[in-house]
């Protein structure tokens, strides 16, 4: 195995820090993220409060760290559910083709004609706000991207001679699909999933901002930004620092995704 490249290391460092913040926020937060401090209302960034404080005097660095758990959860669940569903559908559609493929094609057309965010918002609006409903909405809309990637990769792999060899050896279709084709076809999906985690955080933040995702007083980066919007002219740090954290997290996922793409490249 070759040495992992620098961008991948950078990405993994950021993700590692996020995992640490999520697992044991108590070790890193300088203040109780929910504690009001009336001596520090709207305090600007300082050594005492590096990210500043909000209108209730809550330390924003502590709140940003405490929010990591929820945002990481969003990143994982908003990709794992649609990713798994899409991968399975793509695998089957790519393998069987025919009518299944034709129906799939129309379904894809239907979903992609709607803007992603609008569709998610519409579904959450129907189901009601909250994280669980957000995951359902993202799964309903998001599986399409994974399924398309998987389908086209399976169409290539199923014509590979190693698949012909499996058939001649009398292997069952599930065995061929899951043991042989899946590991060879999954790479684009995995790479996309990691990048999609960054998008998921942005989505979660957007929904949080709109009040459709995580509900206050839970700290979530989007919710933090939403909190800061009323003070944007007087206390811009309330929105600015959580926003920067989102950018850094997104960078972490993108770098990891790129690095993973190189690492998973199959050697012939």
């Amino acid at each position: 195995m070759k040495r992992p490249p620098a961008p991948l290391l950078g990405g993994l460092t950021i993700l590692g820090a996020m995992v640490a913040f999520a697992v044991a926020p108590g070790l890193f937060v300088p203040y109780d993220p929910l504690a009001f401090d009336f001596t520090a209302l709207l305090a600007p960034p300082s050594w005492a409060h590096p990210f500043g404080a909000d209108q209730f005097g809550r330390d924003l660095l502590s709140r940003s760290i405490a929010a990591t758990a929820i945002d990481l959860q969003i990143a994982l669940f908003a990709t794992i559910f649609p990713g798994t569903l899409g991968t399975l559908i793509g695998l089957l559609v790519g393998w069987y083709g025919g009518i299944a493929d034709a129906i799939f094609g129309r379904l894809v057309d239907l979903v992609v004609t709607f803007p992603f965010l609008v569709l998610v918002i519409a579904i959450v609006a129907i189901l009601g706000p909250g994280l669980a409903n957000m995951y359902i909405a993202v799964t309903i809309v998001g599986w399409v991207s994974y399924a398309r990637l998987m389908r086209s990769e399976v169409m290539v792999q199923k014509n590979g001679e190693y698949v012909a060899a499996c058939k001649v050896l009398g292997y069952s279709t599930p065995r061929i699909l899951f043991r042989h084709i899946l590991p060879n076809a999954i790479r684009p999906v995995l790479v996309y999933a990691v990048t999609a985690m960054a998008l998921a955080i942005l989505l979660g933040s957007s929904l949080g901002y709109l009040g459709l995702g995580a509900q206050p007083p839970e700290a979530e980066w989007g919710v933090l930004i939403a909190d800061g919007k009323n003070f944007f002219t007087t206390a811009p740090w309330i929105a600015l620092f959580p926003g920067t954290v989102i950018v850094i997290a997104g960078l972490g996922f993108s770098l990891t995704g790129d690095g993973l793409a190189d690492l998973l490249e199959v050697k012939r």
Partner: protein
């Protein structure tokens, strides 16, 4: 001698892609005539060569036999069983008895599995040996194809083309088949490596009593290693007979041309005239009558109209002119 594998009247056509414009213009649906009415027997213990140029249908025929393709017409029997009607477990046990070695040593192995896992899977699925005995059997298989035991732990990309082809052969042997169909197994390899793989086939055949169908475009190899040879042209067998006799006195004009066209590794045979004129016709639209007639020097009116049947004696040849 009884036939182990018997192929009767196999026909396989692939519908050609037709654009919307073609449909609007009312053009008929075309089909690639890959295999047309092919019949042949494979006897136990022999090596049968199938030769021909691209589009002659030799690979399609092979893939019909191992059921990678379903032929449109005809019958295939193996040891008296109708192969084409097999389903489920019966079809799987047929697969145990007839195996295939593929052309591409790079594409025919799962790149994400170690060699050991690839072989163990075949042993496990068909329960060839009890589970605890699998690692030992994997070592035996590797030894059989002259690969070191530590090859089991490595991935395909760590091997050269010739070594990968050995792995492909070991995988086929894992399920202890009686018949192996090898589809251009050495044509992707360098000359010096080809010889080793050809030797391996002959050695395994002697040791394990295998029957071998060897498909290739290389007449030099066919001449060296087969007992009988079938020559195909545009989906049909034009001549099939004992290798030495057929090469010494080829009866079909196409066989004659093919043998003359192959450059021999002997200096001084340099001629100036091509062995046969004209292009290979498209299998989408094969010529009527004898498919070879547009390129044939001795064809006449009858050849343009009649599809020649196989004349049996002294060995089958499909040419109206062959028997006087």
């Amino acid at each position: 001698m009884t036939a182990m594998l018997s192929i009767t009247g196999i026909t396989k056509r692939f519908p050609a892609r037709r654009g919307l414009l073609d449909m609007i213009r009312g053009r008929p649906q075309l089909a690639v005539h890959a295999v047309e009415q092919v019949s042949l027997d494979v006897h136990k213990g022999e090596t049968l060569g199938i030769v021909g140029e691209s589009g002659c249908g030799k690979s399609t025929l092979a893939r019909c036999v191992v059921r990678l393709h379903d032929p449109d017409a005809g019958a295939i029997t193996f040891d008296g069983t109708d192969v084409l009607s097999l389903k489920g477990p019966a079809r799987r046990s047929f697969n145990r008895r007839v195996q295939m070695v593929f052309q591409d040593p790079y594409g025919s192995l799962n790149p994400r599995m170690t060699v050991g896992d690839t072989l163990a899977e075949a042993l496990h699925v068909h329960a060839i040996v009890p589970k605890p005995a699998i690692p030992a059997r994997v070592r035996e298989l590797l030894d059989l194809v002259h690969l070191p035991a530590d090859a089991a732990l490595r991935h395909p990309h760590e091997f050269s083309g010739g070594q990968r082809q050995r792995i492909g052969i070991a995988r086929a042997l894992a399920v202890e088949p009686q018949l192996i169909i090898a589809d251009e197994p050495v044509s992707a390899l360098d000359v010096s490596v080809q010889a080793a793989i050809v030797n391996l086939f002959m050695e395994l055949q002697d040791r394990l009593g295998l029957t071998l169908v060897f498909i290739t475009h290389d007449l030099r190899l066919v001449r060296h290693m087969t007992h009988r040879v079938a020559v195909m042209y545009l989906g049909r067998i034009v001549e099939i007979g004992p290798t030495a006799e057929l090469f010494a006195t080829p009866r079909h004009p196409y066989t004659q041309a093919l043998i003359r066209a192959v450059p021999m590794v002997k200096p001084g045979r340099r001629g100036s005239e091509a062995a046969v004129i004209g292009e290979l016709p498209s299998p989408l639209n094969p010529p009527p009558g004898c498919a070879f007639h547009p390129r044939c020097r001795i064809a006449d009116v009858a050849c343009r109209e009649t599809i020649p049947p196989l004349h049996p004696a002294p060995w089958p040849v499909a040419c109206l002119k062959a028997n006087g």
